[in-house]
């Protein structure tokens, strides 16, 4: 008999430690900074500042607009791809899926730099179309996140349901609208969650495209660069709340398989 008995509870210790150090502690630090000023006193100035500063609010709306357009474009491109990949009897399907996932494995900097060069050749000066370039850059970056969850959902869609719809008098188009599309909603929602939220904050893409536009991420970045932890933290906290509300709203559509599909990345 050993003195130390290993139980299930103890298996949780590493996870709990990880959670403490990398989730709970940073969150507490952010909350602390968000509600204090330079002297370390409690204040709500940062909060009110967020909503009164037209620059911040403007950036928030601009980020929203950019994120929504990016998500919409991703969705329009990704759904047909996912559909064809999942529903056709193509051979070497996994190879084609790989082709779409493969860019993810190439270094991010390299990818965006390549994109920048291509866009420069086409547009001449990147500064002329900041919004368009942002959308192109983001879509390029996030497209696989949109394809994969939808691909997984469509893959496990029961083919007999489509036959049943067909049998009951639905033409291929009606079958798609009444059965395939509603049943792929969980995948679509997963994809939206995975693209919409990151594209509100991922300013690195914009920076690398020599873009002058500001999104929420860039705002936080510039505050932090100026050592203003307080305002930066408040913005982060507000974004966190927005994401939380959004996730609560979309959770009902998700199921675990889609989460797993996304987890491949």
């Amino acid at each position: 008999m050993s003195v130390f008995r290993f139980s299930r509870k103890q298996l949780g210790i590493p996870y709990a430690l990880f959670l403490m150090f990398f989730v709970v502690a940073p969150l507490l630090v952010i909350i602390y900074y968000a509600f204090t000023n330079g002297e370390g006193r409690f204040t709500l100035d940062n909060l009110s500042g967020f909503f009164t500063d037209p620059n911040t609010i403007g950036t928030l709306f601009y980020s929203f607009a950019l994120a929504i357009v990016t998500t919409a474009v991703c969705l329009i491109i990704a759904y047909p791809i996912a559909y064809v990949l999942a529903r056709s009897n193509m051979r070497h399907k996994s190879v084609i899926v790989m082709i779409f996932v493969l860019p993810m494995w190439i270094n991010f900097t390299l990818r965006i730099t390549a994109l920048k060069e291509i866009l420069t050749v086409i547009e001449g000066n990147l500064a002329f179309h900041p919004f368009l370039n942002s959308v192109i850059g983001m879509c390029y970056d996030f497209l696989p996140f949109m394809i994969l969850p939808m691909y997984t959902t469509l893959m496990k869609l029961d083919g007999t349901l489509l036959e049943a719809a067909n049998d009951l008098g639905a033409s291929p188009l009606q079958t798609f609208l009444k059965v395939t599309l509603p049943l792929s909603v969980p995948g679509i929602v997963s994809g939206i969650v995975m693209v919409l939220l990151p594209s509100m904050t991922n300013y690195v893409v914009l920076d690398m495209l020599y873009n002058s536009t500001y999104i929420m991420g860039s705002l936080i970045g510039s505050y932090f660069a100026a050592y203003d932890w307080h305002n930066g933290s408040m913005i982060s906290l507000i974004l966190l709340l927005i994401i939380l509300i959004f996730t609560l709203f979309t959770n009902q559509y998700e199921d675990d398989t889609n989460a797993r599909g996304g987890a491949i990345l």
């Binding site: 349901l161 036959e163 049943a164 067909n166 049998d167 009951l168 008098g169 009606q174």
Partner: protein
């Protein structure tokens, strides 16, 4: 709950269905004309199938899995298109018509209810597509739900229903469209035994009340016998027999049908005289007039074997097992090399010596099929002459095969005049008797491997069909028991192979 109470035909607007079903019973509603469904790899799931189904009939496709019954159903539904042949509905070819245009509805094996809709929307799916007024849809859904005894289930979610309830909804969803033909693809396969029996009766009475043509697919012979007006027995993509349940049971056309439908003893035998047959080492009177000397398979149902005292029996044997089956005992008697299964209400003891008698009407004679394995082969010339055989070659004495021929000095086959014989034009039939082939589980032992796709017990031996890797089937007789799907290597002794020239 009697099924009659659940079914209210007056619920239906088209009340004349019932009349149509009875008066118009001589009209063919659907005809299959030599349909074949071949896949890209050349495998034919259904081959040259012909069938006529009359309005209002209850037809069952019966066969083991992989026999092509579901493929046939899918072709009628429109999910698959026959590669050859025609499907006629009211005399018009519909083989190319998409499923959604056919007045045919299907009940799927796994129900296939839409999980994102409630029960009402599931049932109303087809009606909404037909753009019926809302009030009418509502009325029809209500009626059909009453019919399947699930009133008030409209707003329930699919996932909250039991398997049996889901199946009723699936039936309701198909019936509400008032199809001319209802297809049922093993609809009761996923239900437990008691539920299945109940649903069988309900389906049967639904069919009687509605007068719709039912086409039913099952591998359960009892289900087929209970429910159908007409049974189509299928095996390996081909129709084995079409007939009423009584015909199929009492007069099976071949050993496959006899073996598949009910329990049966099948013996190899020979006709010894007019209306006289010999099997199990004994001569019996029979009712089937088959020419003298014909090799036959005799089918004797276990309930047709009469046990008497040893002195009075035509066959004498020893009881080897007795199993109580509720209504009867299943008794196995060994007589010489033969094993005979008997159903009797009287018990016997293991080790008893008994006599067995069979009345003439208890013997069903089938002309034996496939007594020889015959394979056509080409002659190839590569320095020497060979026969193509399976994936290899076979040597044989061609001079004996081709009358008057001989080899010249150069080793070329020439005829009596010394002219070279064009071997490309000749075909040779290679034949092997089933009992000359033996099987081994050592892949290297024989000349080719394959898997057992069929087996029938014939009293003193098993008759197997082995599908080899080159898709050539062999019939093999063996005394040992192998299992379906077993991989075996076939040993064919070269001296047992016979050759003949194809004319």
């Amino acid at each position: 709950m009697s099924p009659d109470k659940k079914l209210k035909p007056d619920l239906w607007q088209k009340e004349d269905w019932e009349l149509e079903g009875k008066t118009g019973s001589k009209v063919n509603i659907i005809e299959l004309k030599s349909i074949t469904r071949r896949f890209e790899d050349g495998f034919a799931a259904v081959e040259d199938m012909n069938l006529e189904i009359k309005r209002g009939e209850f037809v069952t496709f019966l066969g083991p899995s992989g026999c092509g019954k579901t493929t046939t159903l899918r072709m009628i539904a429109g999910f698959e298109i026959p590669t050859e042949g025609q499907i006629l509905l009211h005399g018009e070819d519909i083989s190319g018509m998409p499923a959604y245009e056919r007045p045919i509805n299907t009940v799927f094996q796994r129900y296939a209810l839409f999980p994102h809709m409630n029960i009402y929307d599931n049932i109303a799916f087809g009606l909404k597509l037909k753009k019926l007024p809302k009030a009418e849809i509502k009325k029809k859904v209500k009626r059909v739900l009453e019919m399947v005894d699930l009133e008030g289930f409209e707003t329930r979610k699919v996932s909250t229903l039991s398997g049996g309830q889901q199946q009723r909804i699936a039936i309701a969803r198909a019936l509400v469209n008032e199809p001319e033909i209802l297809l049922l693809d093993e609809p009761l396969g996923a239900l437990d035994l008691k539920m299945r029996k109940e649903m069988q009766l309900e389906l049967k009475s639904m069919h009687e009340k509605l007068g719709i043509t039912f086409i039913y697919v099952t591998h359960d012979q009892e289900e087929a016998l209970t429910m159908s007006d007409k049974i189509v027995v299928m095996s390996e993509g081909r129709v084995q027999q079409i007939g009423t349940p009584e015909d199929i049971y009492n007069e099976p056309k071949n050993a496959f049908v006899a073996d598949f439908i009910g329990d049966s003893n099948i013996f190899n035998g020979i006709m010894t005289d007019k209306l006289k047959v010999r099997f199990c080492g004994t001569q019996f009177d029979c009712l089937d007039d088959v020419p003298h000397g014909t090799l036959i398979d005799a089918v004797v149902r276990p309930e047709d074997v009469i046990i008497t005292s040893e002195e009075e029996g035509a066959i004498k044997g020893v009881v080897t097992s007795v199993i109580f089956k509720g209504v009867h005992y299943e008794i196995t008697v060994e007589s010489g090399k033969n094993e005979i299964v008997i159903q009797s209400t009287k018990a016997a003891k293991v080790g008893d010596r008994v006599g067995l008698n069979i009345e003439p009407d208890g013997i069903h004679i089938m002309i034996a099929e496939h007594t020889l394995n015959k394979i056509e082969s080409n002659i190839v010339f590569d320095k020497e002459y060979y026969l193509e055989f399976l994936d290899g070659e076979l040597k044989c004495d061609f001079t004996k095969l081709i009358p008057g021929s001989h080899m010249d000095e150069a080793g070329v086959l020439v005829d009596a005049n010394g002219d070279e014989i064009d071997t490309d034009k000749l075909k040779v039939v290679i034949s092997v008797k089933p009992d000359d082939i033996s099987m081994s589980d050592d892949e290297e032992a024989g000349i080719i491997s394959g898997k057992i796709i069929n087996l029938i017990y014939k009293g003193d031996h098993y008759s197997y069909v082995v599908r080899t890797d080159v898709d050539q089937d062999f019939i093999v007789d063996d005394e040992d028991l192998w299992n379906m799907e077993d991989r075996v290597s076939l040993i064919i002794p070269e001296d047992k192979i016979e050759y003949s020239l194809k004319k």
